[in-house]
């Protein structure tokens, strides 16, 4: 039986080997993230069948749970770890060709640290440990946004850093209040004692933790940094930030609300916040003429949709939300990767500069189109089953308020369709100006895009295994008593 500790320890060790390896060979250093992600993917997939029956609780340091820091590898944690490794693998392959200038070895070091932080957040069972991994994730992403060292990248990174650091301060304060109240940092132990205190007295830590994590999760109104950071970063970093970083923030938030606090009374508020984030994100995306900014705003919209589904807190809706999260990771990563080379070739981020791309870069354009259609939710791509699950779950609540909100969500999807079809139209049906010569993205980048496109189509046609996995993940997220029992037993 492999241990879930390896999911964190091996990439962390490899991350700090990158500068040493690059002294010997720069090409070998570029391969390190690929190797680490491949390892994580294999470990996560080997763990998967086991944890679907029985979650693995890894005790670090040999003390029994409430005293040690424990890792909790349940269906949610392992599913997320597999997703992070998968997206990380595809993007690392792409970056081998895409990142050519600048201190390349440091890029790969920070990229691996970002993935380690994300994996740590989803696996840990200790609130302070969560904070530490969260900071690893955040600090490496601040640095990576500024990787190009150009004006817009630096400005976006500074804005992101200031907002993120304030968010982390609030999170740490919330954790301190929790420790003061319960005298423990173990998530299961806090959840166990939550019933014994006055609900009003845990409201302040809950509010601090939600607003602290909400900055990274880009929930409205805490998301002012996201459009700048995601559009100014190198495209491979935009892909990992949109695909992994904000989802991990959202996961941490949902874990806190569902498992640690069991705060069912706040869920209706989160449903509204989700629908609002969705509508605002999609409306802003519609107004953009810069393709990367459009994709960044669309990420805000998608996060809103995922939050809307998760906060409805029925087993169907949580499964739908997690499925949507997975489909957003795959589709948005593909979109950013394809857009990266289109921008590279046309030299501009304006949508108007993409006219005629369908003839000049046929394969990259096809990849962009697959990603766009999947995000909008057309069959046979992965976006269709996930959105379908959310719609079905909202209707199954049989309350008029959810039906009305669902109407707004569908309106958001309609707007999303409108602006994505506009770009696809520009790519295929508008005459390009000037050069008509064909050019291709490098083969390595095309391979990485092909992996994502193939996964999007494969899971879209054959969603049952993924639907089963997210189904049991939803059961784990909603079942507090089982979580507490399996950690503390």
């Amino acid at each position: 039986m492999v241990s879930p500790v390896l999911l964190i320890a091996v990439p962390l060790g490899l991350a700090f080997l990158v500068p040493l390896i690059s002294l010997v060979s720069r090409r070998a250093a570029m391969l390190v993230p690929v190797v680490a992600c491949l390892f994580n993917l294999v470990v996560a997939i080997t763990l998967m069948p086991g944890v679907l029956d029985q979650p693995v609780v890894e005790k670090i340091g040999g003390f029994p749970p409430p005293f040690c820091i424990n890792l909790y590898a349940g269906p949610v944690g392992v599913l997320f770890a597999a997703l992070i490794a998968l997206a990380g693998l595809g993007i690392a392959v792409y970056a081998m060709a895409y990142i050519r200038t600048g201190p390349v070895d440091r890029y790969h070091l920070l990229y691996l640290l970002l993935l380690v932080g994300a994996t740590g957040v989803v696996l840990t069972g200790d609130v302070f440990n969560l904070f530490v991994f969260f900071e690893i994730l955040c600090i490496s992403s601040y640095a990576l946004v500024a990787y190009m060292g150009n004006k817009s990248g630096l400005e976006a990174s500074v804005k992101y850093l200031i907002q993120g650091a304030v968010g982390s301060g609030l999170l740490l304060m919330g954790i301190g209040l929790l420790y003061g109240q319960f005298g423990t940092l173990n998530m299961a132990d806090i959840a166990n004692r939550m019933g014994s205190v006055n609900q009003v007295s845990v409201f302040v830590p809950l509010a601090l933790i939600i607003s602290g994590l909400g900055v990274e999760a880009a929930i409205f109104p805490l998301n002012a940094w996201l459009p700048d950071a995601h559009s100014s970063a190198p495209s491979s970093i935009s892909a990992i930030l949109s695909g992994i970083a904000i989802e991990v923030g959202l996961y941490a938030m949902v874990r806190m609300i569902f498992t640690v606090f069991g705060a069912t009374s706040i869920l209706m508020f989160m449903v509204f916040l989700g629908a609002l984030t969705l509508l605002l994100g999609e409306l802003c995306a519609f107004a953009q003429s810069n393709v990367k900014r459009m994709l960044a705003y669309s990420s805000i919209g998608q996060i809103g949709l995922i939050l809307f589904a998760l906060a409805m807190a029925t087993s169907y809706s949580v499964a739908g939300g997690l499925f949507q999260l997975l489909s957003h990771t795959l589709s948005k990563a593909l979109l950013f990767l394809a857009a990266g080379y289109m921008i590279y070739r046309s030299g501009s981020m304006e949508i108007s500069s993409l006219h005629g791309m369908g003839k000049r870069m046929p394969l990259t354009s096809l990849a962009f189109t697959i990603g766009a259609f999947s995000l909008v939710g057309l069959p046979p791509f992965v976006g269709f089953p996930s959105k379908f699950l959310i719609v079905r779950a909202a209707l199954a609540r049989q309350q008029s308020i959810f039906t009305i909100l669902l109407g707004f969500v569908l309106l958001g999807t309609l707007i999303e369709g409108a602006y994505f079809f506009r770009v696809v139209q520009a790519i295929y049906f508008k005459k390009g100006s000037g050069e008509t010569g064909r050019s291709y993205a490098p083969a390595v980048a095309l391979v990485s895009m092909f992996i994502f496109a193939a996964l999007i189509i494969f899971v879209g046609i054959y969603p049952q295994p993924v639907a089963d996995a997210v189904g049991s993940a939803a059961t784990e997220l909603l079942d507090r008593a089982e979580y507490v029992r399996s950690v503390l037993q």
């Binding site: 600090i139 060292g149 630096l154 740490l172 301190g176």
Partner: protein, 119 residues
């Protein structure tokens, strides 16, 4: 007065946190904003320490004779603060590094004048 005496650390910690937030929100100079972040961090750290602090408490060493567990200072928050300080230093170093590069690119540290990016 007794309120201030028993909660002096909390008042101080939240005072520092609020001062830090105020500096971040009001100041335009990036270096001052970073100083604000540092004050905010210090406030949070002081708050964490005061959660576990006991006036005239002792070190939590169980092997010593004649010590009861009620008079020990809780060591966990101190361990947490040690980690939090390290994280704070990393963020601060990165922020100052970015500030240097920003100054080289824009020739100013005034955040009002640095707006390449718009909605």
């Amino acid at each position: 007065m007794s309120f201030l005496e028993s909660y002096a650390y909390y008042v101080g910690a939240f005072g520092l946190i609020l001062i830090g937030l105020l500096v971040i929100l009001v100041k335009r100079n990036l270096i001052k904003i970073i100083i604000g972040l540092s004050i905010l961090d210090t406030g949070v750290n002081l708050f964490l320490i005061s959660v576990g602090y006991l006036a005239s408490g002792t070190a939590p060493i169980f092997s010593r004779e004649g010590i009861d567990s009620g008079s020990m200072v809780d060591p966990v928050p101190q361990a947490l603060v040690l980690t939090a300080i390290v994280i704070g230093v990393a963020v601060l170093a990165l922020a100052l590094g970015l500030a240097v590069r920003l100054y080289q690119n824009y020739g100013t540290l005034d955040m009002r004048k640095i707006k390449e990016l718009k909605w």
